[in-house]
Symmetry: C2
Subunit: 403 residues, 2 copies
């Protein structure tokens, strides 16, 4: 009766790009590691104790009682105007003066990544990424089928010498993507010198840059370097080479799904047009709540308590690693953020280690996942923001046993 069987009906309709989609290994793992006895360094979750729940509840009530329309009606694609003005003022105070007209609210930074992929990637187009890089960016962009070109990093971040060689060799990349501070997955921060070099290269070679900065405010030690966006503006008087992304997910709560993009003027209209087709606009309620607590100064009051909690957890993990890890294992010492990066002896396989670790009731993400084109099997990403200090100590001991 039917010429299309159940299986072929929809498969015949799939776009070519759809066939390359993969589920996020991290999120699949998260499902696997939800048992209470498992100590998971695999996720990328903020500590729930750090959510300012009471302030958010109070703000939600104020907003829904006093300004129900702002929270419940359709809103402008660009975002809630008072929130955009707040963000403009806050970024200006951080050395990134951008007109609120170029600040667009997004449904988390993840939507901004997907949106930029839609705007900037054609099939086969070269896209430069750090090796390793944020898995969610790879996942957002793979459906657009770019040619990912990985650039090496060291303890100062992206190797700008390797970048320049790549730019000289060509082909012209559509953009370079970097998580400039406390990178996910390595925890490494690009040094000030490298940032200046990168902005100079961007001007010399006409290189667009996407700077993803979700963790910038979560610094536990060391000095905060200027963002690439700030350096770009310092050189050109306006945002020119850099699209800057950030989010409330790490400072307020990820469940709000509210992030933002600061955009060069030349890209803003198209960014808004693309967003309109993607979800009309970001949750009005989430935006109104984010604004309500922000104008009340909550970010500055609350962030220090997040920093204190995560600093203790980072320090605990670093101490436990130093005490427990066998010789030949190395790790990064992040000055902020949520992750550190383990390098196992050459020949060790992170995926095999994970299997043994799960037997010991501890989990992490094998590092190869974070390489656009594979490789570096002897690496692992460990999250220290979610587990308690007790569980970090116990988890690292279990990991040492698995090793």
């Amino acid at each position: 009766m039917s010429s299309g069987t159940l299986d072929s009906l929809w498969l015949d309709s799939l776009a070519a790009a759809t066939r390359t989609m993969r589920s996020s290994a991290i999120r699949d793992l998260l499902k696997l590691t939800e048992q209470p006895h498992m100590i998971s360094f695999a996720g990328g979750l903020p500590a729930p104790q750090c959510f300012p729940s009471e302030e958010l509840a109070a703000a939600s009530e104020r907003v829904l009682v006093n300004q129900p329309l702002a929270a419940l009606q359709y809103g402008p694609t660009e975002g809630y105007a008072p929130l955009r003005e707040f963000l403009a003022a806050r970024m200006a105070g951080q050395g990134v003066p951008v007109p609120s007209a170029q600040l667009i609210v997004t449904s988390g930074s993840q939507q901004a990544l997907d949106l930029l992929g839609k705007l900037l990637i054609d099939e086969g187009a070269p896209v430069l990424v750090e090796e390793p890089t944020y898995l969610g960016a790879l996942q957002a962009w793979r459906p657009y089928r770019p040619q990912f070109i990985g650039l090496p990093m060291d303890e100062q971040g992206l190797r700008t010498d390797a970048l320049e060689q790549q730019l000289q060799r060509g082909p012209r990349p559509r953009f370079l993507y970097t998580v400039s501070s406390f990178q996910n997955p390595t925890g490494v921060t690009m040094s000030r010198a490298r940032r200046e070099e990168l902005i100079a290269l961007a001007a010399r070679y006409g290189l667009p840059i996407i700077e993803d900065d979700p963790y910038g405010e979560l610094r536990y030690s060391g000095e905060r370097p200027p963002t690439l966006a700030a350096l770009d503006i310092a050189v050109h008087g306006e945002l020119r080479h850099v699209v800057y992304l950030s989010t409330f997910s790490k400072t307020l709560a990820p469940g709000l799904r509210v992030g933002w993009a600061a955009l060069p003027e030349a890209l803003t209209t198209r960014f808004v047009q693309a967003k309109q087709g993607m979800d009309l606009h970001t949750s009005s309620l989430g935006q109104a709540i984010a604004y309500e607590v922000s104008r009340d100064g909550l970010l500055d009051r609350h962030t220090p308590s997040i920093i204190a909690t995560y600093r203790e957890r980072r320090d605990t993990m670093l101490e436990a690693l130093a005490a427990q890890m066998p010789a030949g294992v190395r790790w990064t010492r992040p000055e902020g953020g949520m992750f550190l990066w383990l390098t196992l002896p050459e020949g060790c396989d992170g995926a095999e280690l994970l299997a043994r670790a799960v037997e010991q009731q501890v989990a992490f993400v094998p590092g190869a996942t974070f390489f656009a084109n594979g490789g570096s099997e002897n690496t692992a990403r460990l999250n220290f923001s979610y587990p308690s200090v007790e569980r970090i100590r116990e988890g690292i001991a279990r990991l040492a046993r698995a090793l």
Copy 2:
């Protein structure tokens, strides 16, 4: 110094598809018609008086106080499990029994449209749409560059005879898109006979269907026909040819940005994978609030008051049109939803009429906007859900003067 000028830097990086993007004429108009003296039939906004603000405020407080994690932490891409189970039970009660595993929460139905475009459209792929059709669908899909093929409608909805001719002629379309009840923009509902014919054609030709049903619960007169999803399940014992989309935007509030998709099993995993790359998941807070008020029975208690308000507005607009419109102007008589469709005498131009109407302080959307491939300039979409009955009467009088 710089080899890339400001203008060429980002323009050189644009994806080919980006160049075809257009801003939504409706949303641009909305900005134009925000002056208080303007009576706007142009928007597609629910009446703010119909938002259950107090219940949503109370639910938000309960959720944030009692279950802050469900509302604030990262959540599963598929959606908040209790909400998905509620939706499964509710849809089963409406003759659409779908396992909750195949019900995926989306950031409004607009995200589901973008997502299905990403999954199913390659450049040049044929996509069947009603003429006219929902502008947001065209806007979501244009970046994927399909070949839109328009199918005619009459007062019974999509003309299935024209569809069958098209299917016989080929090429095989990736899918057919229909707003089956109280269509945006025409207000027309597909008759039961046409629905049965469409589901039979889908089986005969292996045709995937996207049924977009945001207004289905807002019926003011007549009898509710089964959804295409219900008929598909009745024939095949499971959802096979139909992806069914709906939303809380018209029954609770659009600012929550919570919709859902009921999917054939064969498509569900890929749908979730694509959503993961697009925004990780829909706002946890919005989902938790939607669930909290829904399990409390608010939908069934509250929807009748929306229906009463909109029925009076629809009736007022129909009466005013009958009293005021000159001979030669025709309009649809929607049994629900938010829009009706005006057909002006042959040779009249909706865009020209709009210019004169704006002088008279009344606005609408020229109908040509809703045709994938243009044409039908002598049409207009009027919204009756947002303006009060007084403003509807006055606005139609102004429109008659403009004519």
